[in-house]
């Protein structure tokens, strides 16, 4: 059965698009048929991170408004044949998205894919609410700092009240993905501890992605980090997170400074 996953955060610049590309690519690598959908209408980025910016003809808005067919707008990844991109429009804004139009597109995508991953724009306005509207699961991307955590808390509240699932009395399955985790700064106490983040958000942890030059490098060359540098710690962390998303049990590793010793954090299942 197709799953609709929204990657969201509230705050900008925490790594939603990077995570969408990485998780999408990792899922496709494991044999799932995946489409990543850019909801950041007007400020699209996912096409760049996926390296498909020169192949965009039609976009999400065209499909929502019925100008183009879904098959015309979908772009197949050149590296993974299971991975597709539905780009956003750069010339329009979020008001061009309609609830029923998005619902129709998501329904249609559900027919032909195992995973529909919606890359949410920052904020809590139309773009973000429509990206999460039809989600079955949510990955809340959080940096270990107070402003990001508070915004994530706000987004979790919206996932619990503004989605179709919530309105039907069901629950969107939520996961916290901590990104840009800097082991050195964490050791100096300059960042919120993982436990504190989880205590505040009261939501299970999906993974911890270390702050890394590899992520930046991958974005710049337009390739998801799990494909660009599969042996890097960030790529491995994304792959582990993806396995957990698929229901596997993988021991949680807290990225440590290069002193060799990896601390193990027991899997926390917060209330």
């Amino acid at each position: 059965m197709a799953k609709v996953l929204v990657v969201t955060s509230g705050k900008g610049g925490v790594g939603k698009t990077t995570s969408t590309a990485a998780i999408g690519a990792a899922l496709a690598q494991s044999g799932q048929k995946v489409v990543v959908v850019d909801f950041d209408v007007g400020l699209r980025n996912l096409d760049l991170v996926m390296g498909a910016e020169r192949r965009v003809v039609f976009d999400l808005i065209n499909v929502v408004q019925g100008v183009a067919k879904l098959s015309q707008a979908l772009i197949r990844d050149k590296r993974l044949e299971n991975l597709w991109l539905l780009p956003a429009s750069q010339t329009r804004d979020k008001d061009a998205l309609t609830d029923e139009g998005v619902g129709r597109v998501i329904d249609e995508l559900r027919q032909s894919f195992d995973w529909v991953i919606c890359d949410s724009p920052a904020g809590i306005e139309r773009g973000a609410t429509l990206a999460m509207r039809y989600a079955d699961e949510a990955v809340i991307v959080t940096n270990p700092e107070v402003s990001s955590v508070r915004d994530s808390d706000r987004i979790i509240g919206m996932l619990d009240s503004k989605t179709v699932k919530a309105e039907k009395g069901e629950r969107v399955t939520k996961h916290i993905l901590i990104t840009r985790f800097d082991a050195a700064r964490a050791a100096r106490g300059e960042m919120l501890a993982i436990e504190d983040v989880l205590e505040i958000l009261a939501t299970p942890l999906l993974g911890i992605i270390p702050e890394s030059q590899d992520v930046l490098r991958a974005s710049n060359v337009g390739c998801p980090v799990v494909l660009n540098g599969p042996s890097t710690s960030a790529a491995r962390a994304y792959m582990d997170a993806t396995k957990r998303l698929l229901g596997e049990t993988v021991t949680m590793k807290v990225p440590a400074e290069r002193k060799g010793l990896m601390k193990l954090l027991l899997r926390r299942r917060a209330a």
């Binding site: 107070v146 509240g157 505040i200 009261a202």
Partner: protein
């Protein structure tokens, strides 16, 4: 001439009087019909006490013993039968109520069974999930209890007291309708703002020693006190 006083015989005076009787029309199966009657009685017990009841047997064909049995069952429910209608008189024994005829249908003013007293709503609101940043819970009628934390940027407004079984990081305003006796309780205090009946304190004024401990806030005259809960 002796006048013999003849005993004066008072002629029996007959007066007519009409009463409104309830007519019961049993249908087969009688057991179900009796169960139905029981249900009615349980809603308004004593409804038929002292009221004349006529049994109309035209819808069923019962033997003499069955009729006797039915009358006994009704008597057990405290329903006494005044007369029987729609039945062959030969089926009735002398101890049974007499056969009636010539009844006319009339409207019965339905007496509404008394509604069970509606209890006043319990003035308390229970939230069993965390209150997230940006959410605002307003309950002017009484207490708010939260089983979980209240996030930074969330807001609780209660007419009564506020209880948080988790960390209180947001704002809590108790006794907003002018109740100086309202209090705020929490397992861990990191509140941005606490207010009771208009008196407030911000996080800055909060004693560092209290942070991250169970605490309560209450009004002592015009002064807000925040004290640890031990």
């Amino acid at each position: 001439m002796d006048a013999i006083a003849e005993p004066v015989t008072q002629p029996v005076r007959l007066r007519g009087r009409s009463y409104l009787a309830f007519v019961f029309t049993p249908v087969v199966p009688i057991v179900d019909w009796l169960a139905e009657l029981d249900a009615t009685l349980s809603r308004s017990p004593g409804f038929f006490v002292g009221k004349p009841v006529v049994l109309d047997l035209s819808a069923v064909e019962l033997s003499r013993s069955a009729i006797a049995h039915l009358i006994v069952s009704l008597e057990k429910k405290n329903i006494r039968i005044l007369g029987i209608e729609g039945v062959d008189p030969s089926l009735l024994s002398p101890t049974m109520p007499p056969v009636l005829s010539g009844g006319r249908v009339c409207e019965i003013a339905q007496v509404e069974p008394e509604k069970p007293e509606v209890r006043p709503q319990v003035a308390s609101l229970l939230l069993d999930s965390p209150v997230r940043s940006g959410q605002s819970v307003v309950f002017p009628d009484g207490d708010i209890t939260v089983l979980g934390s209240v996030g930074s940027g969330a807001e609780l407004v209660a007419g009564g007291s506020i209880h948080v079984y988790g960390t209180l990081r947001g704002r809590a305003m108790a006794g907003v309708n002018g109740n100086p006796h309202a209090r705020i309780f929490c397992q861990k205090i990191e509140a941005e703002l606490l207010a009771i009946d208009g008196y407030y304190q911000t996080a800055e004024e909060l004693d560092e020693a209290l942070r991250n401990r169970p605490a309560q806030a209450w009004l002592d005259g015009g002064v807000m006190r925040i004290t640890p809960l031990t």
